[in-house]
Amino acid sequence: MIKGQGSIQAHLPQILTGLLIWGIVAGLVWFTRGLPYTDEGAPGPRFMPVLLAVFLGILNVLYWVDVFFFQRGGKLDLPRVSDLVRPAGFILVGVLMIFLWERLGVVATVLIASFIELKGIQGYSWTRSIWVGLLFSLSTWVLFQLILRVPLPAGPFEFLLSL
C-alpha cells in the first residue's frame, strides 16, 4: 500500500504540481504537432520538444514516487491565505504599472505605484508616501532617461520633454 495514500489532502500541492507538469508535457507535444520531427535526416524543430516531453514525463513519475513512497518534500511550508495579502498586493502594483506604463508615462506611473505600495501595503503616512513616491518618481526618471538615455514613455507629459 502506498504510504501516503490516506493523505491525499496533505499532498495536494504536490499532486497539483504533478498535474501541472503533465499539462506542460501534453502542451509540448500538442503545440509542436505541426513541426517536422526530422529535417533532412537530422533532428528537426520538433525533436527537442518531444525529447524534453519524454524526459519530463519520466521525471514527473519519479517526482510522485519521491513524494508518495519516500515521503520526501511532504511537509511544505505553505503560507496561509492571510499571509498572501501583502505579496498579492505587491504583485498587483506590478500589474498596475504595466497597465499604466504607456498610458500615463513612467513619471506618473511610478508616483502612483509608489504611493500605493507605501501607503496601501506598508502602511506609511500620507505625507511620507507622497514624498517618497515623488522622490522615487523623479530619481528613476533622471537615472534612466537623463543619465542612461533610455527612451521612456512620457504619456500626457510628453510636452515636458521638449522644454
Binding site: F90, G94, M97
Partner: protein, 497 residues
C-alpha cells in the same frame, strides 16, 4: 611570462578611471546587497544588468563581477550582528559570528571575515589565471558532441548540488530548457511555441526571467515573512575590527584551507559559495583541537567559511570564462551580458577578447583590495545605510527591475514576463523546487540544442556519436555519476544534526 604580460595589460584596462569607478560601484553595491536580506547576488546582477548596457562589455562585466564577489563580503555583516544571513553563503558565518558578537567581539568577527574574504578572493584569482587559459586551450578542441555532453554534465551538476532532490532539480532544468525552445527554430527558422505572439518570435528573453525569478520572487517572499532583525550594538570602529596577531595566527590555516576548498568547489557548476562555506566549516570543526567551541564563537568557524565562499567566486569564473559554462545564476547573468554584447562566451574568449578577460581579472584584484578597505573602515556606515534603506527596499527593487527590464528592448511585454516569472519563482520556492537550474536551462538550452543537432548532422542522425567519442562518453559517464552517486551517499551517511 606571457601571463604576466597579459595581467599587466589587464591592469591597464582595469585601472582606467571609468573602469575603476565601475569596479568601486560594483563592489559597494555588492556589499550592500549582500548585507540586505531579501535580495541575492543573482537578483542584484539581473536587476542591474540593463543599467550596464551603455558601459560596454568590459565595464559591464567588471561591475557585475564586483557585485558578485562583493555580496560574499556584505552577507557577513547581518549574519554576525543580526543573526539574519544576507546571503545563503553567510549562513555558516552566523553559527560562530553571532556568538562572538554577543561576547562583545563583533568587530573581530567582521574583521577576520573581511581579511579571510580578501585572502580567499585574491588567491582564487591566481588560480583562475593559472587554470583558465589552460582549460580554454583544451576546450578549443571540443566538437559539437563534446560540447553537448559537457553542457548536460554542467546542468546535471547544478541539479546534484542545488536543493534536496535531484528529481526536482531535473524537472526545473527541463522547465528552463523548454523556455529556451520558444521562438524561431535555430536551423529552419520556423516559429515554435510562440502562440502567435510577435514578441515571442525572438524567444523568451533571459533577462526578464532572471530578474523575475531571482530579483522579484525573493522580494515577494520577504513580504510574507516577518523576520525579526534586532541588531547587536557593537563598537565597529577601524581599530575594533582589526584582529590581533594572535587571532590572525589562530585563523591563518583555516583561511588557507578555506581558499583551497572554496576554489576547487567553486569550479563545479551548482556548488559555489554556499556549499564551499558549509564544507569548510565541517572541515574546520573536524580537525579542530577544540571542536566543542564551534557554535559558541570559534574564530576558525568564521575565518574558514568566509574565506571559502569568496574563493568560490574565483573558482566559479573558471568554467565561465574558459568553457562558457555558468556555474551559478550570477555567472549565468554575466554570460548573458557577454551574449547581449555580441560576444561568444567560451574558450575562444581568451584569444578573441583578451582585454575583456584580463581586464576583468585585473579588476578582481583591485576589487578585493577595495572591498577589504571598505569592510574594515566603513562597517558602521554600511550598518547605518542598511537600517535607513530597508523599509523602501521592496519598492526600489520593483522599480529598478521594471525599468531595467524595459530598457533592454523598450518593451512593456518584457515587464509582464518579469512579473509572470516572479510568480513562478515564488511558487517554486513554496513547493521546494530549485530555481537555479531553470535559469541555467534558459541560458544553455539554445546552445545545447544547437550542439545536439550539429552532432546528429555529423553522424547522419546516429545518436551513438555521443558515446563513441571518448571525451563525450566520459562527460556522459560523469553526468550519470553526478545523478546516481549523491542519493546513494546521502542514504549511507548516518543522520547528523
Amino acid at each position: 611570462m606571457e601571463t604576466i604580460y597579459l595581467l599587466l595589460k589587464g591592469f591597464s584596462v582595469a585601472l582606467t578611471p571609468e573602469n575603476l569607478l565601475l569596479c568601486a560601484i560594483g563592489v559597494i553595491t555588492g556589499t550592500l546587497v549582500g548585507a540586505l536580506p531579501g535580495i541575492g547576488s543573482a537578483g542584484a546582477c539581473a536587476i542591474l544588468l540593463p543599467a550596464t548596457f551603455k558601459l560596454g562589455p568590459v565595464g559591464s562585466l567588471i561591475m557585475l563581477a564586483g557585485i558578485f564577489y562583493g555580496t560574499q563580503y556584505g552577507g557577513t555583516i547581518t549574519s554576525v550582528l543580526m543573526k539574519v544571513p544576507g546571503e545563503s553563503a553567510s549562513v555558516v558565518t552566523m553559527f560562530d559570528g553571532n556568538p562572538l558578537a554577543k561576547q562583545g567581539r563583533a568587530g573581530v568577527a567582521l574583521g577576520l571575515a573581511a581579511i579571510g574574504s580578501f585572502v580567499g578572493g585574491t588567491l582564487s584569482i591566481l588560480g583562475l589565471m593559472l587554470f583558465g587559459p589552460v582549460l580554454a586551450n583544451y576546450a578549443l578542441e571540443l566538437g559539437p558532441a563534446e560540447h553537448f555532453s559537457l553542457m548536460v554534465l554542467s546542468l546535471s551538476l547544478v541539479c546534484a548540488f542545488t536543493g534536496e532532490s535531484i528529481v526536482r532539480g531535473l524537472i526545473a532544468t527541463c522547465f528552463g530548457l523548454i523556455l529556451a525552445l520558444v521562438g524561431q527554430d535555430i536551423m529552419t527558422g520556423q516559429p515554435r511555441l510562440t502562440f502567435d505572439f510577435q514578441q515571442l518570435l525572438d524567444g523568451i528573453e533571459f533577462l526578464p526571467v532572471a530578474v523575475g525569478m531571482f530579483g522579484l520572487s525573493e522580494t515577494i517572499e520577504s513580504f510574507e515573512k516577518k523576520q525579526s532583525m534586532e541588531m547587536i550594538k557593537a563598537d565597529l570602529g577601524f581599530f575594533k575590527v582589526l584582529p590581533s596577531l594572535r587571532d590572525l595566527g589562530q585563523s591563518l590555516w583555516a583561511m588557507v584551507r578555506g581558499t583551497v576548498i572554496g576554489f576547487l568547489i567553486g569550479i563545479f557548476p551548482g556548488a559555489g559559495p554556499t556549499i564551499s562555506s558549509f564544507i569548510s566549516y565541517g572541515v574546520e570543526q573536524r580537525i579542530s583541537r577544540h571542536p566543542e567551541q564551534f557554535g559558541k564563537g570559534a574564530l576558525a568557524g568564521v575565518a574558514g567559511p568566509e574565506t571559502a565562499n569568496n574563493a568560490a567566486t574565483g573558482g566559479a569564473l573558471v568554467p565561465m570564462l574558459s568553457l562558457g559554462l555558468p556555474s551559478s545564476p550570477s555567472t549565468a547573468i554575466m554570460l548573458a551580458a557577454l551574449i547581449m554584447f555580441g560576444l561568444k562566451p567560451g574558450p575562444s574568449l581568451f584569444r578573441e577578447a583578451p582585454e575583456l578577460v584580463w581586464g576583468l581579472i585585473g579588476s578582481l584584484y583591485i576589487g578585493n583590495v577595495l572591498l577589504v578597505m571598505i569592510n574594515l573602515a566603513c562597517i558602521p556606515l554600511i550598518v547605518l545605510f542598511m537600517d535607513r534603506i530597508r523599509a523602501y527596499l521592496p519598492l526600489a527593487i520593483l522599480l529598478l527591475s521594471a525599468f531595467g527590464v524595459y530598457s533592454y528592448r523598450n518593451s512593456v511585454f518584457d515587464i509582464g514576463i518579469m512579473i509572470l516569472f516572479s510568480l513562478v519563482g515564488y511558487g517554486m520556492r513554496k513547493i521546494e523546487f530549485p530555481q537555479a537550474p531553470v535559469i541555467l536551462g534558459v541560458l544553455l538550452g539554445g546552445p545545447a540544442e544547437s550542439s545536439l543537432r550539429q552532432a546528429m548532422v555529423m553522424s547522419d542522425g546516429n545518436p551513438a556519436i555521443f558515446v563513441t567519442r571518448p571525451l563525450s562518453a566520459a562527460f556522459l559517464c560523469l553526468t550519470l555519476a553526478s545523478l546516481i552517486l549523491p542519493p546513494i551517499f546521502l542514504r549511507k551517511r548516518p543522520k547528523q544534526d
